[in-house]
């Protein structure tokens, strides 16, 4: 189920600001309360895919530690896509909760 939403999750993880792959994975793990402990390698194809779609931009940066790293950031199109996907998700989640949330069905 997570796989279908991975792109949205990655976009949301980058909403706070630019980050490299490891930081994105850590943000996903932390913000999900460690619910999403996905194979870390699945995030890299998602980052490349979102960049190819124009939703992310990336560049190599050399931090003071001296190790070159690829940093990803949302593009304006990425912000728009996240907004649209979030709205869709809110409706979907509300619908699923209403059906399987355990409330009694109306007679």
């Amino acid at each position: 189920m997570l796989k279908g939403h991975l792109d949205t999750i990655v976009l949301a993880a980058l909403e706070a600001g630019p980050a490299h792959g490891y930081a994105v994975i850590e943000a996903i793990r932390a913000r999900s309360g460690e619910t999403f402990d996905l194979p870390e390698g699945t995030v890299y194809p998602a980052l490349h895919r979102l960049e190819a779609a124009g939703l992310l931009a990336s560049e190599w940066v050399v931090p003071p530690s001296g190790r070159k790293r690829r940093v990803y950031a949302l593009t304006p199109a990425g912000h728009e896509a996240l907004k649209a996907r979030r709205s869709l998700w809110d409706r979907f989640a509300a619908g699923v909760s209403a059906v399987v949330g355990g409330r009694p069905w109306p007679a």
């Binding site: 490299h20 792959g21 490891y22 994975i25 194979p39 870390e40 390698g41 699945t42 890299y44 194809p45 998602a46 490349h48 895919r49 190819a52 190790r67 070159k68 790293r69 690829r70």
Partner: protein, 211 residues
């Protein structure tokens, strides 16, 4: 960083060997990931655990190649539609501006316009199949539709060239007709290159997914 992680990075690089820039970029990103995750001199067990958390190298490579194949399929679709438009314009100009072919018993006189038109129709139907298929199942990669459309367009272009030659000869044909046919040839050539790239891309993705 040596040992298990080095072997893992070497495997990723080898799996993506057809695209050295992508292989190098991913290997550098993963090396940074492992360096961030582990201490300066990780033990072999720590390295094994880090690699296990990353997942199999072939899964990462397969994911990247599947996405590349999808992008190539998108581009092929765009070039295919462009080629159809170019072929239609060239075909209409040939019909409007060239004198009709003599059909006094010569098979070519009847066959060439027939192929010119109906091969185009076949290409158009294949293109429609491609587009409908992509709307219904966006992740499906429809190399066969592209191949049929390409074959139809090639036949239409060949018939078009023959039609100009038979009807007026290259020196006598209206410049606009010759220019439109040249443009048609160019776009169909581009489509052929794109279709070959799609074929290679699909084969690589399938090979890796089947490992």
């Amino acid at each position: 960083m040596a040992g298990v992680i080095e072997a893992y990075l070497a495997e990723v690089t080898e799996l993506l060997g057809h695209d050295p820039a992508l292989a190098e970029r991913l290997a550098e990103e993963l090396a940074d990931h492992f360096a961030e995750m582990l201490s300066e001199a990780p033990s072999e067990d720590e390295q094994r655990e880090a690699v296990a958390r990353m997942g199999p190298a072939r899964d990462i490579a397969a994911g990247l190649l599947a996405d590349r194949a999808d992008s190539t399929a998108e581009r092929t679709g765009a070039v295919l539609v462009t080629a159809l438009v170019a072929t239609f314009i060239a075909m209409r100009l040939r019909s409007l501006w060239l004198p009709p072919l003599d059909s006094d018993g010569a098979l070519a006189g009847a066959l060439v316009p027939f192929v010119d038109r109906w091969a185009f129709v076949v290409a158009m139907l294949a293109c429609a199949g491609w587009l409908i298929g992509r709307v219904r199942r966006p992740n499906a990669r429809r190399g066969r539709w592209a191949a049929v459309a390409l074959a139809g367009l090639c036949a239409s272009v060949a018939a078009g060239i023959l039609r100009i030659w038979l009807a007026a000869g290259w020196a006598e044909a209206p410049v606009l007709v010759v220019a439109a046919t040249a443009g048609e040839c160019l776009v169909v050539g581009l489509l052929m290159a794109q279709a070959l790239a799609l074929r290679r891309s699909l084969q690589r993705a399938a090979r890796l997914a089947g490992l």
